[in-house]
């Protein structure tokens, strides 16, 4: 059995809104094994960023988290006092944000920000600076010593994201949460950042939870993939399980729809008809039923549970149930 850095059991997140309780994430359970990159995929509004922000406790004030446990290196984060959570955040668990422009403080030099972030370490300022220089070298920033004196606006977008990655790695965390790390970047830079993340992860042996809607990037970067739809986890497996043997109709359709997956030129591209259901008043039965092209009678009666399809691969769909009980 591989050790897990993070084990999430039955976590739900509700947002209190004027129009009622919006059930953004429902009964989510999954693990992030040590030294692996896990991708959390889904379309906008599926709750993937909400789930990631709950793990590091950066969600908005109107969020209500309930459920069994979030075990991080054996420690339950549910109900952990804010001070202890703060000690963990930016130390054992760090985050890379979507937009490198806004993640860095514009009025402080990179050097100041990179030494400040090491405030827990008892090294001297000069030593901290040296560590920062080494880390910038590692992420491929030329002349790091001089560049430490520059401000974020003097760097290009790709460079800024490299700096953010360097900062996330400074404390040698056991888990990095990367929320759409390449969305704000151009394709050629995206390729660079994906390779950088992959190389650094191998070198430092940390785990990464990568939240993204970009299937191509997930396929290239991740070992395991969790697919989310409208607040529920609907399928999980290794990257090959998901991209080659997708079992849930949503995952299958999502892969079919990606224009990058259609090699033959077409003027009639596949789409998933319909909209995401209202998360305040949830429909009875399967969450995907309204948009599913394989819908059967039971779909509107009963919510499907996760069905095991092989080691580490499961999906929640009635069509896969051939008589056996739900796991």
């Amino acid at each position: 059995m591989t050790e897990n850095v993070l084990e999430i059991k039955d976590i739900s997140v509700d947002f209190i809104t004027d129009s009622g309780r919006l059930k953004a994430v429902r009964h989510a359970s999954f693990n992030v094994p040590k030294g692996k990159i896990v991708g959390l995929v889904g379309e906008s509004g599926c709750g993937k960023s909400t789930l990631a922000s709950v793990l590091i406790r950066l969600m908005s004030d109107n969020a209500v988290v309930s459920g069994e446990s979030i075990l991080f290196e054996g420690q339950n984060l549910m109900g952990l006092p804010p001070e202890e959570m703060r000690a963990l955040r930016g130390n054992k668990m760090t985050m890379i944000f979507q937009d490198p422009m806004t993640a860095l403080n514009p009025v402080l030099t990179i050097g100041t920000q990179m030494t400040d972030i090491q405030h827990r370490s008892h090294k001297t300022r000069a030593q901290k600076r040296q560590i920062a220089v080494e880390m910038l070298q590692k992420v491929g920033i030329p002349d790091p010593e001089d560049r430490l004196n520059q401000y974020p606006n003097e760097f290009s977008g790709g460079m800024r994201q490299r700096i953010c990655i360097a900062m996330a790695l400074l404390s040698k965390p056991s888990l990095i949460i990367a929320d759409e790390p390449t969305t704000a970047l151009d394709v050629t830079l995206e390729a660079q950042i994906v390779h950088l993340l992959k190389d650094l992860q191998e070198e430092m042996g940390c785990s990464i939870l990568c939240v993204s809607h970009h299937l191509g990037m997930i396929a290239e970067l991740c070992h395991d993939v969790v697919v989310m739809y409208a607040g529920e986890l609907i399928e999980q497996g290794t990257v090959r399980d998901i991209f080659h043997k997708a079992a849930h109709p949503y995952t299958q359709r999502l892969l079919e729809c990606d224009p990058a997956n259609i090699q033959r030129r077409s003027k009639n591209l596949p789409t998933i008809k319909g909209d995401i259901p209202n998360l305040v008043n949830l429909p009875r039965g399967c969450i995907f039923q309204d948009r599913c092209h394989k819908k059967i009678a039971i779909c509107s009666q009963k919510t499907p549970g996760p069905l095991s399809l092989g080691p580490g691969h499961w999906a929640s769909c009635h069509l896969l149930n051939q008589g056996e009980d739900y796991v």
Partner: protein, 326 residues
């Protein structure tokens, strides 16, 4: 097929230094050339794709065609008439035939107007009297696949995909000859990207309108355009039919762009041509071939001599001293 728009050696400059700065530092460039000598044409009923990374000048080129940024040099001939050098008032009638779908789907719709008023604006601006406005609005909505109830909604009540459809309906209102679609799928989920692209294709077949599709997404361009150009630092580095360019990319930059588009398959063969570094600044264009600082195949000549756009196959032009052969 007849030519609808012909652009020749178009240049758009932006001033980057104020007068005082220019006096204090006379050697620093006072302008950047966002579009730097671009020539192409679009035929009637055709989709021309414009691909490039951010800062390559693709949006500026689109905006220059429709007269939203002034052109400094070169010509734009639209339906046989010269447009460059026209003032705003003289440009206005041409914007009936040339409309734009903007990049930000919600931001380009006035938040204080209902969909109904938004769609009536083009007629009001161009002084077109309609016999039956509500009927026309319903017709426009049905063209983009939305029910008539949508006319009472405000932009904030629309999803990204629906806002994009309203943007298209507005662009179609005056039955234009050319639609400039700036990032038509940006910000949309993959499951509905196809929706907008199919719709654009359908409209095109019905009304024989030409489309200039501006995007950074090669996967999208492949499906909608007949011909395409790759832009880098304000210049076309490769122009040709979409089929040719995808099958035989000749410029190393095109090759890198194609390779950088990750295929959603973990076992896809890696034909990665990874580019070094970032896009150079327009303030400080590299000597010789402007791509040489990032090119994996750079040779001596590339650092000294500026390559000219030349034909490598019929209708396929490339700006490279050593075009790739396949």
């Amino acid at each position: 097929m007849s030519e609808l728009i012909h652009v020749n050696n178009l240049k758009v400059r932006f001033r980057v230094r104020e007068m005082l700065h220019a006096l204090l530092a006379p050697h620093a460039p006072a302008h950047i050339e966002a579009v730097s000598g671009v020539s192409f044409h679009i035929n009637t009923g055709e989709t021309f794709g414009l691909v490039g990374e951010s800062g390559s000048g693709k949006t500026t080129l689109g905006r220059a065609l429709i007269g939203l940024v002034p052109v400094n040099q070169g010509s734009i001939r639209f339906k046989g008439q010269e447009l460059s050098g026209l003032n705003d008032r003289a440009y206005k009638p041409h914007r009936r035939d040339m409309t734009m779908m903007f990049q930000d789907p919600v931001g380009c719709l006035s938040p204080r107007l209902r969909v109904e008023s938004i769609l009536a604006q083009p007629f009001r601006i161009h002084g077109v009297r309609l016999k039956n406005t509500p009927e026309k609005i319903d017709e426009l909505l049905s063209m983009v696949g939305l029910p008539p109830e949508f006319k009472n909604r405000y932009p904030h009540q629309l999803s990204g995909g629906q806002a994009r459809r309203i943007g298209l309906a507005r662009a179609l209102a005056l039955s234009p000859r050319l639609i400039i679609a700036d990032e038509p799928t940006a910000g949309l989920d993959v499951s509905i990207q196809g929706d907008i692209l199919n719709l654009l294709g359908k409209v095109q077949v019905e009304s024989n309108v030409s489309v200039l599709a501006i995007t950074h997404n090669l996967a999208v361009i492949r499906h909608i355009s007949e011909r395409m150009a790759i832009m880098y630092l304000g210049r076309f580095v490769e122009v040709g039919t979409t089929e040719d360019i995808f099958a035989h990319p000749s410029h190393p930059y095109t090759e890198a762009l194609l390779a950088a588009n990750p295929v959603p398959d973990p076992d896809a063969p890696h034909k990665r041509v990874e580019l070094k570094g970032d896009v150079p600044s327009l303030m400080n264009r590299p000597e010789g071939c402007e791509f040489h600082s990032r090119c994996p195949f750079c040779r001596d000549k590339c650092q000294k001599e500026f390559p000219l756009l030349h034909e490598v196959a019929p209708g396929h032009h490339v700006m490279c001293h050593y075009p790739l052969t396949h």
